[in-house]
């Protein structure tokens, strides 16, 4: 449009143009869609958020006493605490799978009376301060608790301040993560496949085992990882209900907390170990995680 003489057409202003590099043209041709550059009002807060999340981790790395790492870790109860943390959170996750998946199914697939109330109750630990959970566990299963009293009198079983208590505290706090994830997947799953399985002669339990479970497997894995990670980091309910006995109930987060007073360097290193374990889990399950996120 290069008209030499000004005419009536020139009153229509030309649309604003930008320069597209060849590279950008190729990208848009391949991926489709328009510009991928972020406007400043979105980009700046996003950068602040990233900085806020990443800077503390950097601080951990910068302050870590790398040269003395081995000696400090060896001298502390790190190995013991890590071993305790790993096995208790794994057992807690297994318990959550065994009873939490059936619970998720009942919540998603039945219309028993009072189901709404039950759903609210089982998701309560998601928002409940963990310390409150610990106090509640103590009041129920403690030596004078309304259930713990009889466990003690009749069977001589004392739960508080034992490794069992650690597992219970972790399960209490972490299981809702699994239940909520799996329930959502069950609700979203196409019921048509279950109908098809029924017409092929599969009874309800067979349908669940051979069709429903495999179809929600990615979400099941995601939920189990969430649950495990939450159990691994559990602090408040554990220290309230199980205390802090090295080797028996002192999990990694509790060890970090106590080390911070006595030996800050050890606290930093213990934190790094936990960070490492978490990152390893995330990376190891990245594919499943992302796939379930996309589904």
């Amino acid at each position: 449009m290069t008209s030499p003489a000004p005419g009536p057409r020139d009153r229509v202003s030309a649309p604003a143009a930008v320069r597209l590099t060849a590279r950008e043209r190729r990208r848009r041709a391949v991926t489709g869609g328009g510009s991928r550059s972020a406007p400043a009002p979105l980009l700046l807060p996003a950068l602040v958020a990233v900085a806020f999340l990443v800077i503390p981790l950097v601080g951990l790395l910068v302050r870590a006493p790398w040269s003395d790492a081995w000696r400090i870790l060896h001298g502390s109860q790190a190995a013991e605490a890590l071993r305790l943390s790993l096995w208790t959170s794994t057992v807690a996750t297994l318990i959550a799978l065994v009873v939490g998946v059936p619970l998720a199914w009942v919540l998603a697939r039945t219309d028993l009376p009072g189901l709404r109330v039950i759903r609210a109750l089982v998701t309560l630990p998601l928002v409940l301060p963990p310390v409150v959970g610990g106090v509640a566990l103590l009041l129920a299963f403690g030596r004078n608790g309304f259930l713990g009293r009889y466990l003690d009198q009749w069977f001589g079983i004392t739960i508080p301040f034992s490794s069992t208590a650690v597992v219970m505290a972790e399960t209490f706090v972490a299981m809702p993560f699994l239940v909520v994830t799996v329930e959502g997947a069950l609700r979203a799953a196409n019921r048509g496949y279950e109908e098809a399985a029924a017409t092929l002669g599969a009874r309800r339990m067979t349908v669940f085992r051979r069709v429903t479970l495999p179809m929600v497997a990615p979400s099941l894995a995601a939920g189990a990882v969430l649950c495990w990670a939450r159990a691994l980091g559990e602090f408040g309910a554990t220290i309230t209900f199980a205390g802090s006995f090295p080797g028996r109930t002192q999990t990694m987060p509790i060890a970090v907390y106590y080390a911070l007073e006595a030996d800050p360097d050890a606290a930093i290193l213990l934190s790094l170990v936990l960070l490492l374990v978490s990152v390893a889990v995330l990376v190891g399950l990245r594919d499943r995680w992302l796939r379930s996120g996309a589904a």
């Binding site: 496949y193 109908e195 098809a196 017409t199 002669g201 599969a202 495999p214 179809m215």
Partner: protein, 308 residues
């Protein structure tokens, strides 16, 4: 309703299903080896009928029996769960299990009905062979074309050795070209099936090609029933007339001659008595060559087809 057969043999349905504001009330029978097409527009209750036969939807009233055994009887409360009915169901969207190979999809029914995994796979392999799918055995359903998935769905339904075969819009998910191939093939397989077969469709062509008998369903009621030729020759409602490519003109019959309300005359050899009638006008698909669908004829007078 069809001919003479031993009482109790084949499928006999008297179904009333109430689903919210919709009520299906239909009586359908199908003899052993007979292919009955239930033809109707969307929302006419076709899929509900199949669901009731498969045990996915219980009847509100009525009775379903197959070869004398009761599947569902609303009066005495008898109900056989879907898993216990000897029914093969081919779903419109196939519903092949995405986490199982083609072989394991087809082996699913024999396996859950009690065969060992190995025996079930052998049965499945036999069916895949028979339907020309042997080379797809190891594939996942998401790697199948539409036509292949349709055949696998049929193989899976047949592998459970059903006494009744139900097909819900079996070809509607296929593109036009594949449809013709699969249609021809499906007709052969349906002819081989020894039990009654009920197929639901909104496509008259599919019904004409695949079925021995048509049942036309509209708004939850059976409006016409008969051989494809009968239904094509004497459509009972506007919907049926449109389906088979005919227009109906209201008029007054005097022997074979009909004076149309919109003006003009038409001859109507099937009209035996005098009085008000509807005269079909347009190309009539002959029963021997129903393969070409034609647009409804548009005669100048009485362009608007109306109910007879």
């Amino acid at each position: 309703m069809t001919g003479t057969r031993p009482p109790g043999a084949g499928l006999s349905v008297e179904a009333e299903v109430v689903r919210g504001p919709f009520t299906l009330r239909a009586a359908v029978t199908a003899a052993a080896g007979e292919v009955v097409a239930v033809l109707g527009p969307n929302g006419s209750g076709k899929s509900t009928l199949l669901g009731a036969l498969a045990g996915l939807v219980p009847l509100s009233a009525g009775r379903v029996t197959l070869d004398g055994s009761v599947f569902d009887d609303a009066t005495d409360g008898t109900f056989v769960e879907a898993a216990q009915r000897p029914v093969g169901f081919v779903f419109q969207d196939y519903r092949l299990f995405p986490h199982l190979s083609v072989l394991d999809n087809v082996a699913f029914s024999p396996h859950v009905r009690g065969m060992s995994r190995g025996a079930a796979r052998a049965v499945a392999a036999g069916w895949l062979d028979r339907l020309g799918l042997a080379e797809l055995a190891r594939r996942r359903p998401d790697r199948l074309s539409g036509g292949q998935a349709q055949r696998v769905a049929l193989a899976r339904a047949l592998a459970g050795d059903p006494s009744l075969l139900l097909l819900d819009e079996p070809l509607s998910a296929l593109d036009a070209r594949t449809r013709l191939d699969v249609q021809t093939e499906l007709r052969t397989h349906l002819a081989d099936f020894p039990g009654p077969c009920l197929l639901v469709t909104h496509d008259p062509l599919e019904a004409l090609v695949l079925a021995d008998r048509l049942v036309v369903l509209e708004e939850g009621r059976v409006v016409q029933e008969g051989s494809p030729a009968e239904v094509a020759r004497r459509p009972a409602t506007e919907y049926v007339a449109r389906l088979v490519g005919l227009n109906l003109y209201p008029g007054t019959a005097d022997g074979p001659t009909v004076t149309l309300e919109a003006g003009g005359r038409s001859s109507c050899p099937t009209t035996r008595s005098a009085g008000r009638c509807s005269s079909p006008c347009g190309p009539r698909p002959s029963p021997s060559a129903p393969l070409r669908r034609r647009p409804p004829a548009r005669a100048t007078p009485g362009r608007r087809p109306s109910r007879g």
